[in-house]
């Protein structure tokens, strides 16, 4: 699958407590175009919705979705596990399953990652981030096993985080890259890119690329063969290269040549590659053939001849997460089911990694890891629980997990089977030897040793015999020496063949030893002597020791006590022990030794510690000094049994001693019995403790997962609080900056909060929060406030009131709006005081303008009526009336036009004159140039005057004749009050005489000057023409008509 162009890596991310922060840094260190798809699986509480998607989307520009059933992950997108679901994946399609609500899902990360591994193999990437338990470790194993890429978080900061999950994953040895979380993005991007590289080499390079690849592969295989002795040339090419490539990636090396070069110079890297290639993740019944051998050939023998009182003891060192242990336990249990008398079975599973042990103790495995377990076994030995499988109790109770180092700690003993698969490959040759010797010691004669397919004990053929060479099953040799039945000391290394001692530099070198011994012996005597170690093994013989020692029947041995001739053995043992205990020279005289020929030799024995040796490696010099000549048997016996008083006395004493010995033996046996029963009690107590321990373990797990959930929730809440803080600060800033006075009241008119602007209205202090608003004095009375608030509560609708404050001319609009809580019930009232002074002013102004307009229009109508009246009175006939009336109204209209052109601000005198005189021709008019502006009222008035003058001039004056001229001047005069003088002078018209009766026109001019202009008109009927001067005070031009 996934070979098509659609293939891209899917990154499964497992996180729990402390994971939100880790995710933040993870995504911040990750470019948005990595080409990978990301699926986040966390420990979530089933009871509440998760905000994770929302939170994660703050850290990345990639789109973040909550995973749904049937979602097909796309590159550069992020998917988050929803609450209350278990995520799986098949055919690159996510699936969701509802967990069993009664039980907490304990290993969602394991479940997803293992399915991911099964689904996309090499394209799977597993990332383990902060978290409190061991979830994810099994998932990582599955990914690694199928050639995927694995990362785990390490911490570079100092803050306490939850390292359980990543530590457990790292300890499993299955993590490719352990790095701080910020660095992961880079690794993943490189990993994703590396797919392209291999494919390019394979595809595009065609012949050339293929050849290159093959050459590089052969090169690397040769290196491995030379250094490790394992031939990988039979490996599948693609998976071989994939693993090589992953090592390259881990080492940041780009080309195969460069990597081969590194292998040549870095033995560590060879080891790493070797292990990577061998990754044969311990799984249930991994290497089915090997387990079959175990089942068929070994297990029945373990039980053969054992009754219900016997115990079968098995040791699985380096058990890691327990699959191997449980596989063996299952086989044992299956065999036990067939027996009538079932012996006790104890499987000791040890590892130095406590975290792995806790995974093993939990005995819970995701389904994907159970591929190699047959359906029948699954049914018989597992309980399915939400996608993970729990071993049944009858299997679990066979196994005892404990923390133990196969190198450092004292070994187990009297074992029937040791299964140690794929552990030795991690050790150097020295440690390997030591461990194998330990195994040899720990097994009972005939016990079995079960190793991984790439491990061997062939160099120890003295100790082990191969039962099945291919499947690496060995049997401890029956007769193999096992003198050191109990290590004399519990700490330190097991006593090993003494050749090893030299290498450690703790003993004496060969030559030096020899010289030392010879020098010392020569110094004292030169009799026959041997040097033994604390265990009585001979490490050095002098010549001529045959008289005292002889080879025993059976396997060759160096044990002095076994070799000592008749008569010597007892005394030797005593002497040796004494010497070891006291570290002093010990002598026994007159010991008789029987030679092969039956003669007796009396010897003096002396044992003394050898100088220059000490402690565990202390050696002892044993010297045989002959006394007298060889005696015949008779002589010897005679000598030994010489009737003698002393002899009789001694014999009596001997008898008494024997009796005492007998009673001592009886006492000893009783004590032994008691010890046995105590032991049994202890065993049962131990069992109880074990089951209690299991219960505690599961409670602990429950608590841990609750804790995890709480941490996740807490982190989410922290995120939420942060957001709230931000919103709150926004609100505070809004409150501070807004000029709108707002008060939040509850149902009882008690102040909840307010904006600072409120202090303009109420005498309010921060301490007034919680006091009723009505307690405060305000700058204006709000008598209806309580009623209004009640109405808002009842109706749930907003109210508005205009408030006119006392004095200072500020107007407020008081808006009472219901304060709704989340359930939309009215919880209080929000009072908002909006300063509407300018609005109110504008309204007032507008009203004034309208009134003014009314006034003007009506006034004008009144004036028009008055003009019509007057015109009618002076016109005589209707035709003249019509002409004059229309002229006058037009004249007014001209002034209005001019003013409206100027927006009723001002009108220039010049314009006014021009407007009114243009209909009569401007060529006979001489106008002044001074720029004077008049307010509308004066302009209208002067306009009327001008109209009358011009009409009059055209009828009777200067405009009536072709010679007539009109001079029009105006100027400002600065007397007490500023004034304007307007001068109209006609010349060249018909002769003018003062009329007998003042006509309407003249009257109008005169009265307008008085009424409207507040000035006066001086009218003179000069013979050469009319001369009119209008003087009126200059009004302020305020633009407001």
């Amino acid at each position: 699958m996934g070979e098509a162009s659609v293939a891209f890596p899917i990154v499964g991310i497992g996180a729990s407590a402390g994971g939100v922060e880790a995710l933040e840094h993870f995504f911040k260190g990750l470019p948005a175009d990595s080409g990978c798809s990301f699926v986040i699986v966390t420990h979530l509480s089933p009871d509440r919705p998760s905000l994770l998607a929302e939170i994660v989307s703050r850290f990345t520009s990639m789109p973040v979705y909550v995973a749904a059933e049937g979602t097909v992950p796309q590159p550069d997108q992020v998917y988050v596990l929803p609450a209350d679901a278990i995520l799986g994946i098949e055919n690159r399609t996510l699936s969701l399953r509802k967990p069993n609500s009664a039980k907490r899902e304990r290993k969602p990360v394991d479940i997803f990652l293992s399915q991911l591994a099964r689904d996309i193999g090499e394209y799977a990437v597993g990332v383990i981030l902060s978290g409190g338990d061991g979830d994810g470790t099994l998932g990582i194993k599955a990914i690694k096993e199928r050639g995927g890429f694995t990362l785990a978080q390490t911490w570079d900061g100092t803050e306490p985080q939850y390292m359980g999950m990543p530590q457990s994953a790292i300890a499993s040895g299955m993590i490719d890259v352990a790095t701080p979380v910020q660095e992961m993005g880079r690794s993943i991007v490189e990993f994703a890119r590396s797919f392209g590289m291999l494919e390019r080499l394979e595809v595009s390079g065609a012949e050339d690329g293929q050849r290159l690849l093959r050459a590089a592969r052969a090169d690397i295989c040769a290196l491995l063969r030379n250094q490790i002795g394992h031939d990988f040339s039979g490996y599948k090419e693609k998976s071989f290269l994939r693993r090589v490539q992953r090592r390259m990636h881990v080492n940041h090396i780009d080309t195969l040549e460069a990597y081969a070069e590194k292998l040549r110079h870095d033995p560590k890297e060879i080891g790493a590659l070797f292990r990577d290639l061998l990754i044969n993740v311990t799984n249930f019944f991994r290497d089915a053939d090997a387990f079959e051998v175990l089942e068929k050939s070994v297990i029945p023998k373990l039980f053969a001849g054992r009754g219900a009182d016997d115990t079968v003891r098995v040791w699985v060192p380096g058990c890691a997460t327990g699959e191997e242990v449980f596989s063996i336990a299952i086989l044992m249990r299956e065999y036990m089911d067939t027996l009538s008398a079932v012996p006790r079975v104890q499987i000791f599973a040890t590892d130095i990694d406590e975290l792995a042990l806790s995974v093993a103790r939990a005995a819970r495995y995701p389904e994907a890891l159970l591929d190699s377990v047959s359906a029948a076994r699954r049914k018989r030995f597992f309980t399915a629980e939400d996608g993970s499988y729990l071993l049944t109790k009858d299997v679990r109770e066979l196994c005892v997990f404990s923390s133990h180092s196969v190198i450092r700690d004292p070994p187990f003993s009297r074992l029937d089977l040791i299964s140690c698969r794929n552990l030795l490959i991690y050790f150097g040759p020295e440690v390997q030897n030591q461990v194998i010797m330990t195994f040899h010691y720990a097994l009972r004669p005939g016990g079995y040793l079960f190793l991984g397919t790439s491990e061997n004990v062939t160099q120890f053929s003295d100790f082990f015999v191969a039962l099945d060479k291919k499947q690496r099953v060995f049997r401890r040799r029956e007769g193999a020496p096992s003198h050191a039945r109990v290590p004399l000391v519990a700490s330190g290394l097991r006593p090993a063949p003494f050749a090893m001692l030299d290498r450690r530099g703790r003993g004496l070198g060969g030559m030096v030893l020899r010289q030392t011994v010879e020098a010392q012996v020569l110094d004292r005597f030169a009799p026959a002597h041997v040097v033994v170690n604390r265990d009585g093994d001979v490490v050095y013989y002098s010549p001529r020791t045959g008289k005292y020692l002889e080879a025993t029947a059976g396997v060759p041995t160096r044990q002095i006590l076994a070799m000592a001739r008749k008569g010597l053995r007892l005394d030797l043992r005593t002497l040796l022990r004494e010497a070891i205990e006291t570290e002093q020279r010990v002598i026994r005289q007159g010991v008789s030794v029987e030679t092969e020929e039956g003669q007796i030799q009396i010897v003096n024995l002396s044992v003394e510690p050898l100088a220059e040796s000490s402690g565990e490696d202390r050696l002892f010099l044993l010297v045989f000094a002959d006394v007298g000549k060889l005696l015949s048997r008779e002589e010897g016996v005679q000598r030994a049994t010489a009737p003698d008083e002393t002899a009789a006395h001694l014999e009596r004493e001997l008898r008494e001693s024997r009796e005492r010995l007998q009673s001592l033996i009886e006492e000893y046996e009783t004590a032994l019995e008691e010890l046995k029963s105590s032991n049994e009690e202890l065993v049962s107590v131990n069992e109880e403790l074990q089951s209690t321990n299991e219960e505690l373990e599961s409670s602990k797990e429950e608590l841990q997962s609750v804790n995890e959930e709480l941490h996740t929730v807490n982190a989410e809440l922290n995120g939420k609080v942060e957001m709230l803080d931000r919103s709150n600060s926004d609100l505070t800033n809004l409150f501070e900056s807004t000029r709108v006075a707002t008060v939040f009241l509850d149902r009882n008119l008690v102040i909840r909060s307010y904006t600072p602007a409120v202090s303009q209205i109420f005498n309010i202090l921060p301490t007034d929060r919680g006091r009723p608003l009505t307690d405060l004095s305000s700058r204006f009375s709000l008598p209806t406030l309580a009623d209004d608030v009640r109405e808002v509560f009842n109706s749930g609708k907003s109210l508005e009131r205009t408030v006119v404050p006392d004095g200072n001319g500020t107007y407020f609009l008081l808006r009472l709006a219901p304060y709704r809580d989340q359930s939309a019930g009215v919880e209080g009232v929000v009072l908002t005081f909006v300063d509407v002074t300018s609005l109110t002013r504008a309204e007032q102004h507008q009203r004034r303008l309208i009134a003014e307009l009314n006034h003007r229009v009506k006034n004008m109508l009144a004036i028009v009526i008055a003009i019509a009246e007057q015109t009618y009175r002076t016109a005589g006939d209707p035709a003249t009336f019509k002409v004059r009336l229309v002229e006058r109204i037009r004249g007014m209209a001209r002034s209005y036009e001019l003013l409206s052109h100027e927006n009723w601000h001002t009108a220039r005198v010049e314009e006014l004159v021009r407007k009114h005189l243009e209909p009569f021709g401007m060529e006979r008019v001489n106008m002044g140039q001074i720029d004077i502006r008049l307010p509308p009222r004066q302009a209208l008035s002067l306009g009327m005057i001008l109209h009358e003058l011009a009409t009059n001039a055209s009828k009777y004056g200067a405009l009536g004749t072709s010679q007539g001229r009109i001079g029009i001047e105006w100027r400002e005069e600065h007397a007490e009050t500023p004034a304007i003088a307007f001068h109209w002078r006609e010349i060249g018209g018909p002769k003018v005489a003062k009329p007998a009766r003042e006509g309407f026109g003249v009257k109008l001019i005169r009265q307008e000057a008085i009424y409207a202009l507040r000035g006066c008109a001086h009218i003179e009927f000069k013979p050469e023409g009319l001369d009119v001067v209008v003087r009126f005070p200059r009004e302020e031009l305020n633009g407001d008509g």
Binding site: R847, N854, A862, I863, A866, Y1011, R1014
Partner: protein
């Protein structure tokens, strides 16, 4: 003119309208004081002539006649506003005062004045040219 006729003060800053009012009042048999276009002149007449009633144009160019109205109220001399403004535009203390909306018809004016002062002796209603 006989002093028995009621004296009506006309305060109006538009000469044409003042002229019109004067003619109408004279026609109705009242004795017209003024017309005057300013507060100052109006107050002078109020003090010196003690009118029986008054017709006040509210807006007098840049000033208004409310000061005159105050003085009249103080002296308990009845008056009527004549204005282009509406009643609602009047400031508070004057909102009860009578108001004649421009343009004023003769009959309205007569009716209004009759309610202010007792009806004068009927005069010749001859129109003066």
């Amino acid at each position: 003119m006989a002093e028995s006729r009621p004296k009506i003060l006309i305060v109006e800053d538009e000469w044409l309208i003042a002229q019109f009012l004067e003619e109408v009042l004279e026609g109705l048999g009242y004795h017209v004081l003024g017309p005057v276009p300013s507060v100052r002149e109006a107050l002078t007449i109020v003090v010196s002539e003690m009118p029986d009633a008054a017709i006040l144009d509210i807006s007098l160019g840049q000033e208004n006649s409310l000061a005159v109205a105050d003085e009249l109220m103080r002296k308990k001399i009845p008056f009527v506003f004549s204005s282009g403004y509406m009643r609602v535009d009047l400031p508070e203390p004057y909102s009860d005062c009578a108001i004649l909306s421009k343009p004023i018809s003769e009959s309205e004016l007569g009716k209004s004045l009759r309610s202010l002062v007792h009806r004068p002796e009927p005069q010749s209603s001859e129109h003066l040219g």
